[in-house]
Subunit: 191 residues, 2 copies
DNA sequence: ACTGTTATATAACAATTGTTATTTTACCAT
DNA sequence: ATGGTAAAATAACAATTGTTATATAACAGT
């Protein structure tokens, strides 16, 4: 008996997601989303009890998009080099998302940095293939690699530097190889 | 004949500066500042035509504080190593300021990154003392060092990592030396 | 066609914030 | 003491935003 629902939960989330993608969370409010959908604010509050609830849904999508970049298929990690490039590519393609996930103070950040949980181990293992280090050694070296990668990504997300995909690949690739060589040399000397 | 001015321009700027230091620009508004000063909003709008004007003053102070970290005395740069450490120390001592200056998209960022203008050249020269590179070579190498430094600073500012001063010094020092060694080795091979 | 259900529109409320009009008050010269 | 001047308090306006009350309208089953 009720009229058909013209504005679905999905549609609302999608519009909010697009707005956040372009301008960040700050620009998102009920009326703005409604305008974009061509409706009043009612459909929004009919589908979500509060704006916060909607924002949370969008946040989920943002994190999912990030994972899409870091994984290929079911929980399978990309190669070590590809992981770094993907991280930067994500910052380049979705600068607002990158800022939300990695450039704000949140207690969750520590976990997300280097995807510490389940994937963390696999990243180290992926790195071992390049370095030949023991697990513990690679863990230490990986911190340096990831700091460098994170540094580029931050600069890209804020548009402070604007390198092409090729420039990034060369910069990251060369730098990691140089860091690896230097690291090995200095380790040798310590003995 | 008029009553003495109880709330000076300086006082207002100082209170706003402290608020931004603790919580960032978002938390600053006329009533909040007034409350902190123990007065109404009138003194604020008596001294500044708009809030934006006040915010600009605060922004100036923030940038001045940053320069205070990077320079010692009149326009004199610190040593190359000390520059990197100071950059990170600034991010640690004033995370909100660091985020404002270097983690937002602004057209000004490109200039500020590596203090490109007058100081940029001096940084390269300072770096040459460590590397022994030609000016152009050091310029290329410096980008990598600064990306790494910036990476640490960003992680510190967002409290994603919480290293002690000693840990930072060791991490940055070792890493730069390793990068330098690796860079030199790889340059040799190219020939 | 009529009715009940509910999606949507309209409009309003409350809180927040920049800003300003009006009133009050402090203080120095008289 | 008094009065003029300007600083400050009070209170209000306007815009923005989350949220909600009320009215309207669409649609399936009768």
């Amino acid at each position: 008996m009720p009229p058909v629902q013209r504005y679905k939960k999905e549609d609302i989330i999608e519009v909010a997601y697009q707005l956040v993608k372009e301008e960040g969370f700050d620009c998102v409010n009920a009326r703005r989303i409604a305008k974009e959908l061509g409706c009043s604010v009612q459909p929004i509050f009919h589908n979500f009890t509060t704006m916060e609830e909607l924002i949370n849904e969008v946040y989920q999508r943002i994190y999912a998009k990030y994972q899409e970049y870091m994984l290929c298929g079911e929980d399978k990690l990309r190669s070590y080099k590809q992981l770094g490039l993907s991280y930067i590519q994500f910052a380049s393609d979705y600068p607002e998302f990158f800022k939300i996930l990695f450039m704000k103070r949140t207690d969750l950040n520590v976990e997300k940095f280097m995807m510490a949980d389940a994937l963390g181990d696999n990243i180290i293992k992926a790195g071992q293939e390049l370095s030949g280090f023991s697990y513990e050694e690679q863990k230490k070296f990986h911190v340096k690699v990831w700091i460098f990668t994170h540094g580029i990504a931050c600069l890209v997300a804020t548009k402070t530097i604007q390198f092409s995909k090729n420039e990034i690949e060369e910069l990251l690739g060369n730098s990691v190889l140089e860091m690896l060589r230097g690291y090995k040399k200095n380790q040798e000397e310590k003995k």
